[in-house]
Symmetry: C2
Subunit: 339 residues, 2 copies
Amino acid sequence: MATQPMATGRPATIHDIAALCGVAASTVSRALANPERVNIRTRERIQAAAVELNYTPNSQAKALSSGRTGAVGVLVPDITNPFYFDLIRGTQLQLKAAGYTQLLVDTEESDEVEASTLEQLRKSADGVIVAASRLNDEALAAAAARMPMVTVNRDVDGVPAVIIDTPSAMPQALDHLISLGHTSVAYVSGPAVSQSSARRWIALSEAAEERRVAVRSIGPFAPKTQSGAAAADAAVHSGVTACIVFNDLIAIGMLQRLRERGLRVPEDMSIVGCDDIFGADFCNPPLTTMSSPIEQAGRVAVSMLLAQLNPLAGGGNRSRSVMPTHLTVRGSTGPVPTN
Amino acid sequence: MATQPMATGRPATIHDIAALCGVAASTVSRALANPERVNIRTRERIQAAAVELNYTPNSQAKALSSGRTGAVGVLVPDITNPFYFDLIRGTQLQLKAAGYTQLLVDTEESDEVEASTLEQLRKSADGVIVAASRLNDEALAAAAARMPMVTVNRDVDGVPAVIIDTPSAMPQALDHLISLGHTSVAYVSGPAVSQSSARRWIALSEAAEERRVAVRSIGPFAPKTQSGAAAADAAVHSGVTACIVFNDLIAIGMLQRLRERGLRVPEDMSIVGCDDIFGADFCNPPLTTMSSPIEQAGRVAVSMLLAQLNPLAGGGNRSRSVMPTHLTVRGSTGPVPTN
DNA sequence: CAGCGCATGGCAATCGGTTGTCAAGAGCGT
DNA sequence: ACGCTCTTGACAACCGATTGCCATGCGCTG
């Protein structure tokens, strides 16, 4: 009645296996974890019993005694932002392949939620991947000191990072616009606390200076399509003929708003987005934007984190990985208006 | 050296609190879990100490001893399908509000992945929410017998379900098309194992019969934009003037393909989607589709699951909840071609 | 004042593993 | 044949909490 090896009973434990094989539970544990430390005959008996009882280890108990949870937290500011889809899918696939579980958390664009999530994850995950952190450098570095971490699109001293190098495509985007005759360009910026937005603006303004073209920054705007209306109005008011926009979400919102106002894209205004998210290719007009292998970024982030967790395994610990980016030209950019 | 109440040491445990207050660990546990079972003075001392030491309970240990994990699994077939964004956000918000952690898993449209995930979750979660299951009724019922479960868009005997009642909008959609003069309509079906797709087809064909209109089914097609090309070609070949499509992903793909082929929507072909996903309002032309409060569906699913987990709490256990759906008319439907 | 009951809090077992320690036994060389 | 080393597996402590059981001590009642 105490231990019942029925298939439909409660899940089997190592004790059930031990009883079935006539060995101690600790031997079962070793046979499964360090097979070479156990006699091959015993081991095979144990493994057979494990299969027979349909044994799967209890992850809670394993975590408690070993200190390793087998879980990795993935923090994104907004799970409904399509930019993160591919990232999440990349991390999920790579984590699963390595036998880890992904704990996905939406931090709701809030530094407080992010901080408390990190604190909680400290005990329930072996490491974290933090995408587009809203935390300041100090808080993020402190959190990274407490548990293995990899950031995405965020540089902090001592914290390994995967950087999606959108800034490197800024000169391409600007050249594209210049070749179409534009000389007055606005950067539509994202959240004030977004390092991505800051880096994109710096890259753009440097490129503009080299090329002796005027660019101004407007914003900040929240990274949502709804913000696109205000952004579009601000852009129109500023008198520019082209916008490079922090991300595609805002850019798509601008497309909609400009249409409402009776302005044509690209005839009256050219729009360049960033990220090439789901929807950028089928909006109206299709969006000229900057593309990156986002899913791969997720995979790389996981690899870097796992390298931290198992320092023994091969592959030197890269501390920074840069994903290439390129301009994808579609229909939202065109010649400067001639009026 | 053993216990050090420093802020930066390892996380505080109930033993640290017990030592600081001069009580037993079990008393601390009670003071925190069943405050009324402990003297108010003692309790307050303990609570103060807990705050001072920045105590947060170890969820693994709690799970191990109590049997409750405080986690709920959420299974979706494809995390990059925008349909699930709002659902996921709804479950996430509601679970967080109830103090639960969400374990999100992408089952990759595979019944095997889904089954093994469910088996694993059995030990690491208190319950699961399964959206658009690819499992057969038998397997799903078996899994539901082993752990609390709520399904989304899937009816299985004895398993509580949230149904997004898209079928109820099928007559509306058909009437809309008929009023525009269409008499030859195709249903573009989704995965063969999708109960949603089957239900939509049944509702549509019944409505068509009542109205004495011909509808045919083409497909099945995978629920991805890429499938839209084949679907569009099949629709054109079948000679219909309008399509009602299993979901917006395929519908958007069809829009793109029809444009490539030089066919105009809605002048040459009308398209109706399902789900009103992200992108349906800004594709070209904007998609006529069927809308539902998806985020609310997620919240309701969580409520139903929590009602199973804590039967004591108020709110009778509804076993089936139906979310209303309505037709949202946009630009992808128009009068039947007059040639 | 005796006796009863209840509020309180301590002890210890338990959850399911991991891991350090140690004894027993096998196999080897001399 | 003796003794050494190395392999093997058992024992038990431990991870951090929960929880049933029990002892203490208080206040109340008769």
